[in-house]
């Protein structure tokens, strides 16, 4: 199921960022959009992600660019919600009602609306790992790095998240 990763891990991850720029922007944007459900907000946060990554690269090397970007994206979204005085979320706290009511949904096609809504009902981290795994085809290794857990824990999380979603129907 894992598609051929054209990101050549032998290369400098900076090359990954540059040569896969278009693809990465799409991925990060999509990821953020599905978390925030507002196009403008998603664009802003995406922009922040990439710009701060550039700044970071001025002084540092980054080994795994893709994981780094997703990690940054997750953090930025957390910051965004914090800024808006949301309750600090945890895996359990679901702000489902608020999220659904603030949909703009312009970007989600009709046939995908169902699954998008289901995703919204999951906890943040559950949703993140599912999106990273099945929507964006990230390696377990990358996902683990992005969420700051070890690989085993990550696999478990993914398994459980999928089961939860199945049960949501």
């Amino acid at each position: 199921m894992k598609r051929d990763n054209e990101v050549n891990k032998n290369n400098n991850s900076l090359d990954d960022l540059m040569t896969n720029y278009n693809e990465l922007v799409d991925q990060i944007f999509r990821f953020i959009y599905l978390k925030t459900n507002k196009k403008e907000v998603a664009e802003d946060i995406t922009q922040e992600c990439f710009l701060s990554t550039i700044k970071y690269l001025g002084e540092n090397e980054v080994q795994n660019m893709r994981a780094f970007l997703f990690k940054t994206a997750r953090n930025k979204v957390i910051d965004y919600y914090r800024q808006k005085n949301r309750v600090i979320y945890s895996d359990e706290a679901v702000l489902a009602n608020e999220k659904i009511s603030s949909h703009d949904d312009v970007m989600v096609k009709q046939d995908a609306k169902m699954v998008a809504e289901k995703l919204n009902l999951l906890g943040e981290e559950d949703r993140d790992v599912l999106m990273m795994r099945y929507l964006e085809d990230l390696d377990i290794k990358d996902i683990a790095e992005a969420i700051g857990k070890n690989q085993m824990a990550t696999r478990v999380q993914i398994f459980r998240a999928l089961r939860k979603m199945k049960n949501l129907i």
Binding site: L14, V25, L57, V108
Partner: protein, 445 residues
């Protein structure tokens, strides 16, 4: 994994249709470039991560810039030199006169030439390219309706400067007679021809007479530099042909393909050629006709231009005469022009191309003087509207080679004319277009 899970996963994949807007991606990319430039410029000096950072940023630039223009080093260097941000430098490249970033653009260009002083061909190329840019900028402004007089004037001034620089390089001691000479001359000739086309286009887009005057000025400059370039080309080509002819005569096989060949070897070496019609023509003879043809074309073009001018002047003289002006001196001048033109034809037949060209240029000039002498006589406002329809002819593209019946086709704005004039013009314009197209086809080899 059970089927339900599989379905879910399939469903999730449908969300892949969500993508970021192209415009957003493009804008973000620009900003990333800017951001990278900031860090680069600021941290240029004395950071312990300098080399790593430099290589990182180098990669960023190389990959962020559109593939066509990999201007990394010059742009960053220039940005560093100028102390402006790399982002501004990059963004300025498409700016127009009057916009805030335009001075940055000009400074960038200047810096580029500075970086290339040691390479004549490269530097000349830059000046030529920049000259064309100046005209494109006017065109862009005109299309937006923002072609203010002051901006147009400035742009044309810069246009002239760039041409002048290119000319200086072309005629400099180190370039004359070298291989670079042909290369630069050809570039300049092509660019100035293209300039003429651009100017014709722009002239159709501006309303004000003042602007048109400025454009005419640019036109004259284009013509002048085109001539200079052509002359250098002719000189180079002629010396090539002489060399080729020498080879021909030493091996002593001359296929009598055309009279020009014969003339060349005779003229160059003074020996009698052997009228041996061999199929095994040696290389020299094959090479010569091509350059020959090119030179002939260039001379013929100039002669056509001169001929056109003469006719134009003659018509003007007739008109002025009918209004009672004293046209004696002008008529003499026209006669002189015609003589010069005939002279030019002679020289052409003798394959003395450079001289033929110069003579044709003289003929053109003479006709111009003849006409201008009469314009000065009636420079008052009352006659302005009658004089107007003569000036617009300046924006005429080079006549086709075979067109010696100089037609009064004009691409300028309408003016006071009689109906018959208009009909005549339409016919002539059609003829001219066909011939011009034909000429274009012939040039496509």
């Amino acid at each position: 994994m059970d089927s339900r899970k599989k379905n879910l996963i399939e469903e999730m994949k449908k969300l892949r249709s969500i993508k970021a807007d192209d415009g957003f991606k493009f804008a973000l990319r620009k900003r990333m470039f800017e951001e990278a430039g900031k860090s680069f410029v600021i941290n240029m000096s004395g950071s312990r991560h300098h080399s790593q950072q430099a290589s990182n940023l180098q990669k960023i630039f190389i990959n962020l810039l559109p593939k066509k223009q990999n201007m990394f080093l010059p742009l960053l260097l220039i940005a560093a030199l100028l102390g402006s941000s790399a982002g501004a430098t990059y963004a300025s490249q498409s700016s127009l006169p009057g916009e805030t970033l335009y001075p940055v653009k000009l400074a960038t260009e200047k810096a580029q030439t500075v970086l290339n002083v040691n390479d004549n061909a490269k530097e000349a190329d830059l000046h030529i390219k920049f000259s064309e840019k100046r005209l494109y900028e006017i065109d862009a402004l005109a299309q937006k309706g923002e072609a203010k007089l002051e901006l147009v004037r400035e742009a044309v001034d810069k246009y002239k400067e760039e041409l002048s620089e290119a000319k200086n390089i072309l005629t400099s001691a180190s370039v004359v007679g070298s291989d670079q000479s042909i290369q630069i001359a050809k570039s300049l000739a092509d660019a100035t021809n293209h300039s003429k086309e651009t100017l014709v286009k722009i002239s159709g887009e501006v309303d004000s007479d003042d602007a048109l005057d400025i454009l005419k000025d640019a036109w004259k400059e284009a013509v002048e530099h085109n001539d200079i370039a052509t002359i250098e080309l002719l000189k180079s080509l002629t010396s090539d042909m002489t060399a080729a002819a020498n080879t021909t005569s030493t091996t002593n096989t001359v296929a009598n393909t055309n009279t020009a060949d014969t003339t060349i070897s005779t003229a160059a070496t003074g020996t009698q050629n052997q009228a041996a019609v061999t199929t095994s023509t040696n290389q020299a003879v094959v090479a010569v006709p091509v350059q020959d043809q090119q030179s002939q074309n260039m001379v013929n073009n100039k002669m056509a231009e001169a001929s056109h001018k003469i006719s134009e002047a003659e018509r003007y003289i007739v008109k002025k005469e009918s209004r009672g002006a004293d046209v004696g001196a002008a008529k003499i001048k026209i006669a002189e022009a015609k003589t010069l033109l005939a002279d030019s034809q002679n020289l052409l037949n003798q394959a003395k191309y450079t001289e033929a060209f110069l003579r044709a240029k003289d003929a053109h000039r003479a006709a111009q003087i003849a006409k201008e002498s009469l314009e000065n006589d009636h420079k008052d406002k009352n006659h302005k509207e009658e004089d107007g329809d003569d000036d617009e002819n300046i924006f005429v593209l080079p006549a086709a080679i075979s067109d010696t019946s100089a037609s009064n086709s004009s691409t300028g704005t309408a003016s006071v004319r009689s109906e018959t004039d208009y009909d005549q013009d339409n016919d002539d314009e059609d003829k001219k277009e066909k011939k011009h197209d034909k000429e274009k086809e012939e040039d496509h080899d």
